[in-house]
Symmetry: C2
Subunit: 343 residues, 2 copies
DNA sequence: ACCGCAATCCAAAGCGCTTTGGATAGATGT
DNA sequence: ACATCTATCCAAAGCGCTTTGGATTGCGGT
């Protein structure tokens, strides 16, 4: 069923039918009602490609997934972020498109999306330090939003981020207040911006307390369960093991917990643990009492906000850039306690 | 940069340029080379909407995400399945589109995708028993593939599934061989087809061993960590607690393990555990020795295969339906052992 | 010298929609 | 009664591409 067929059926011109359905004023209300009824009855839906061609808008927002199998992107938070975003897109009539690109051609992929006219805007996820993609998109002067930020990129751009530094600063202070002095940090990949900021917060807290950071207690890699387990096991075997551990991900925290158990220690008593909790739907941090003391910030909500900000940007491409900094909440659970008295 | 601009620049007609770029034979190879060089130089990319309008194909494959916040879809396996699929799509020139729909309008969403001409095919994820969406898509006679199957749907349709029944049959037999008699099943939502099949396998093994199933030991719900923990705690508190537990998800298995620990028991000695492992990239089941004995089947690979099958279907809409049944592998880890001798 | 054919290229139509620039008719004002 | 609005509708162009149906040229065959 096309516009033409529908208009023939109604004895009207395509112009009038189009206007009737799109809410333009220059059509009699009686006619409009008749058109709407006929459209509904025959399940008419404008062809989105044709509409896009005519209007110059695609009503699609793009996300680029790097194809590297172990990349941060295909990670536990992916689903929740997308769920938050796609819901918001739908409310504004946008669809969401994913494209694949291998690591060497990610910029190509963004460029392609826009040049082909496939999307009206994109979301840039998982920014690294000095993220090159930002300047690429900026130069293309296309609507985009960054989930996260990028240290070292001076251009103005829209972003939404969690205050990673302050949340890890606060978490570290919390551990220091409990008397911990040997605090480990199991962080995400070093070149990820969020990881750097979390480390900054951690280091700032240590510095305030006059504690010299120990390279031995700072690890960074892809945040899997196995990684959390491995690093913890290694560190607990040190001559002078940490009494507390900060972890950048709940998934890794599960591995940390496993390693603590295997060492015959008790989490919260022998070793304190604080994790960053993205508040994933399938991985709630306990029911009543949180399993882990955690810095919590919903990534699903971040997805919603990012989507809204991007849609705003698409509507007004020349508005001043906007940013949004979410504060993570420190929830105290059973995984932290006073530093054990070993001395 | 449009086709017209490019052709003007080259002193050729749009026809010839189009043919040169799309590999048609009626163009001089020298001309073709010249066109390709110019296209590359100016970064020309055909507008996908215009191309789609002209060809009648969108080169997009759709996925519909129900907006119910706690739905199986936004779950840990989502990211990996998508990663597998999107890679395959890209290799064949397809993009992937997500649309949101609330639970009452999922069928509407599928219908809309096709009527708007937004997609060439869709993937149906998370089928329930008697899945209505299958007959809807079937009647629309559009290309689609089901990830999973649906008991009670007689129509022929393309699907790819894990042999859930045989894998849980085998896992249960494995536990029976170890001497376990009180085996619990912590399953996914009851109306999900995979959950039903897994239960069938479990029940079949019990029946073969002459053991009557106990409703008390069979649980089903959304497969979160907290759920695994809660059900395990409840069951371990029974007068006659299970000595082994089968779990439909690694995420829930983590909660199971937590509950076992909290009860002061040791997994693999006091309570044996077998989980279904989707082989998620960020949640590998241990490094050398698997943490959990598990029925393993890569959901990422399933995504790849599903994508390939769907693309085949799009190419030949009238070919006989194809199905693919993957066998899960039983990997033996540390979470299982002989039944404790309590008698 | 003439015909047929292959190779190469192009003009124009068409995909389904929006939108510009009228056309028409009835209502209003003087 | 005439000019001027206003309300309502439409024809046609245009979005950027593909594809049909030629047109043109040069060549071999007879």
């Amino acid at each position: 069923m096309t516009l033409k067929e529908l208009s023939d059926m109604l004895g009207l011109s395509p112009t009038t039918v189009s206007r009737a359905l799109n809410g333009y004023p220059e059509v009699n209300e009686i006619t409009r009602a008749r058109v709407q009824a006929a459209a509904a009855k025959h399940g008419y839906r404008p062809n989105s490609r044709a509409k896009g061609l005519a209007t110059g808008k695609s009503m699609v927002i793009g996300h680029v997934i790097p194809s590297s199998s172990q990349h941060e992107m295909v990670n536990p938070i992916f689903g929740d972020f997308v769920a938050g975003a796609v819901k918001t897109y739908a409310e504004h009539g946008y669809d969401m498109m994913f494209t694949n690109a291998d690591d060497t051609s990610i910029e190509e992929a963004y460029r392609s999306l826009f040049q082909r006219g496939a999307v009206d805007g994109v979301v840039l996820q998982g920014p690294k330090v000095n993220e090159h993609r930002i300047s690429v998109l900026s130069k293309m002067s296309v609507p985009f939003i960054v989930h996260g930020r990028s240290t070292g990129v001076d251009l103005p751009y829209d972003w939404i981020d969690v205050n990673n530094k302050s949340s890890f600063l606060r978490a570290t202070q919390f551990l220091l207040d409990l008397g911990h002095r040997r605090i480990a940090l199991i962080n995400g990949l070093e070149d990820m911006d969020f990881a750097q900021r979390r480390r900054d917060g951690y280091l700032a807290a240590l510095a305030q307390a006059g504690i010299a950071p120990e390279p031995n207690l700072m690890r960074s890699a892809e945040m899997t369960e196995v990684y959390g387990h491995h690093e913890t096991r290694t560190m607990l075997a040190l001559d002078d093991p940490p009494t507390a551990i900060l972890i950048s991900s709940m998934i890794s925290a599960i591995g940390v917990r496993r390693a603590i158990d295997e060492a015959g220690l008790q989490m919260g008593r022998d070793v304190s643990v604080i994790a960053h909790d993205d508040d994933l739907s399938y991985l709630k941090n306990g029911q009543d009492v949180p399993i882990f003391t955690a810095t919590r910030s919903s990534v699903r909500k971040a997805g919603e906000i990012a989507a809204n900000m991007l849609i705003e940007r698409i509507k007004s491409p020349d508005a001043p850039t906007k940013t949004r900094l979410l504060e993570a909440e420190l929830v105290v659970g059973r995984s932290t306690g006073p530093a054990p008295n070993r001395y």
